[in-house]
Symmetry: C2
Subunit: 358 residues, 2 copies
């Protein structure tokens, strides 16, 4: 059986004030009616049934997940008592699925990415699943880059290693690379050997558990213990508290010998900041993203307005900013500096008077 | 007896969304606790008693004036049924005061200017009153310019015509000049013969009525009729509807033969835009005016924040803007473009869907 494991543990702060501790990015509808986690699950329609979708999230968000995804089994909404990066999340999900069905395959998907061309996506996913079955390897999806992006990690693949499994070819992965500087990114793009690391993984649970045994043996011991337990809340708590905090990329993927990648041509964005929301949203004739607010814009270009209060938003002679209003805060940010929104969050965290605005 | 006539008829739109049709600039507290009209009246303490203060305002604002200035006689709060610029306002006030006391002197003051050094101001005012009594002329106060400002009108005076009346000398006025371009303003400043036109006037009611008779004879006829009436609401309505719309500067001052000016050294600003509010307010170490809002500013300089909602206002990587929040609107304006706020008001006026935000 094929299962999807949606990783929804993020407590993302880059979309403050819209994203908060109570409602991080994956639970926002930054693009249209549906939240990103709903879009992530809906996108799988016809490939993975809702009953085969597992969501791993922070304990605090389980009710919200159930509300947003009513078709998901409550047993399949896993609460993480502490954030320990992606490796423990994958290990816990693999343990639970493997215990249920030792022949299961899991598709690991971040809950907060934007994907266009969903049919193409499912076709790539199908090839990835077939590769994982055929090769018994760890498989990832890489995105064909269309620009020298410095905000993503890259995957280098062996062009000569083409494997046929389904509609899309797969290749052996040579290396995983951290976010490059611009010059390096340009070289990556020119070489034709590099793909963006999408953070999507496909493997048989038996294969990933073997990989944990080999590359993260301490975590594997915790995972074995979890599998032997009733997998109740206490067991999961014990597991998470015992695990080290490490990413699946760093802990497993970069070390594993047999890794394949299926290049995807669909549109993909990890939506890392308000700047990405501006880039990815529908714009008016002056390159402004205006949402549903009543507005009056005078001599103002390339701005993003995000407010649901119904207040009139007026911009006069300002370019390239985002104005975000929520019930308790207003953010005005230069779209070239949107990464610095995290500095605001740090400021609020470190100041007892301001903490209520988080 | 000396009376002050405070002109508070403006429906100023340059401070939208804080100034509205319901509460224009003179009724705002842009600088501290008190509204500008309260400051205007309080400033006269010891020189003109509250019972000798007349306020001319739009009919709709009479209740607000009474609330803000409870010591003012209700009979002395004059409601204008239509806005007809400053000449009819001065004529009506002169008529009412002259009827009450044919030997009265009136000091005409805009309700919405900022004045520093109030003692110096009163000393200048005292000399202006003495000049008006001694010379029987129309007297105005001119501000010694400290920069080649293009936003103000100028008064050219005859340096050789010095008259002594009180602590400050007065001079004969040669010409009134419209707002100049920068080059002209620089010449004005260098010459030492030019003062800023403050819009403050001092004269005996008998003298200004004679000037109306000579220079605005039609309006004088209406004024005579008003003086002969009971000066009730209907009489005032009739008067205002009959008068042409013209400024006292254009209708009288520029034409009158005997005009004197007393140069003032006190700080003065007509507070024409949010940019002026930024210039005139207390700033933090990064040149930001932050008011009372909780704030988090990251890499942001020379901004103005004006909000009373208690929301957290956060600026990231933005310079030289004003962020103004009210119950029903948010304005973000480049401080070099703050004159264009009037374009927003025009947009709202011309669009039925947006009119409610005025």
């Amino acid at each position: 059986m094929i299962y999807a494991v949606v990783m929804a543990g993020g407590s993302g702060t880059r979309f403050w004030p819209k994203s908060t501790k109570k409602r991080p990015k994956q639970f926002l509808n930054l693009f249209g009616e549906k939240t990103m986690i709903e879009e992530t699950v809906n996108r799988l329609k016809g490939f993975v049934d809702p009953e085969q979708v597992m969501v791993v999230t922070n304990t605090d968000y389980r009710t919200m997940v159930k509300d947003l995804l009513p078709s998901t089994n409550t047993d399949f909404i896993i609460g993480e008592p502490v954030a320990k990066n992606t490796a423990p999340c994958v290990a816990a999900a693999a343990a639970l699925l493997h215990k249920k069905d030792p022949d299961s395959t899991m598709i690991v998907l971040p809950a907060d990415h934007l994907i266009g061309k969903p049919k193409e996506f499912l076709s790539v996913l199908d090839s990835a699943v077939k590769t994982a079955h055929q090769e018994g390897s760890l498989v990832t999806i890489g995105i064909n880059p269309n620009r020298p992006e410095t905000g993503y990690g890259y995957i280098q693949f062996d062009k000569s290693s083409e494997i046929s499994a389904g509609e899309h070819p797969a290749y052996s992965v040579k290396t995983f690379r951290e976010k490059p500087d611009l010059e390096t990114a340009k070289k990556f793009l020119e070489s034709g050997e590099f793909l963006w690391n999408s953070g999507m993984f496909i493997w048989k649970t038996s294969v990933i558990l073997e990989a944990f045994k080999k590359h993260l043996p301490e975590m594997y011991k915790c995972t074995e213990k979890l599998m032997e337990s009733d997998c109740g809340e206490d067991d999961l708590n014990q597991f998470y508290h015992a695990c080290e905090s490490i990413s699946i990329d760093y802990g497993i993927m970069e070390k594993a010998e047999s890794v394949h990648v299926v290049p995807g041509e669909f549109e993909w964005n990890d939506v890392g900041s308000w700047t990405a929301v501006h880039e990815l949203s529908k714009k008016d004739e002056n390159n402004n993203v205006i949402g549903k607010s009543p507005i009056s814009l005078q001599g103002s270009k390339s701005n993003l307005i995000y407010s649901e209060s119904g207040k009139m938003i007026s911009l006069v002679g300002v370019d390239n900013i985002a104005v975000v209003e929520t019930d308790n805060a207003i953010l005005v940010v230069n779209l070239d500096k949107s990464q610095d929104v995290k500095k605001v969050v740090e400021d609020l965290k470190s100041n007892p008077d301001k903490e209520k605005f988080l």
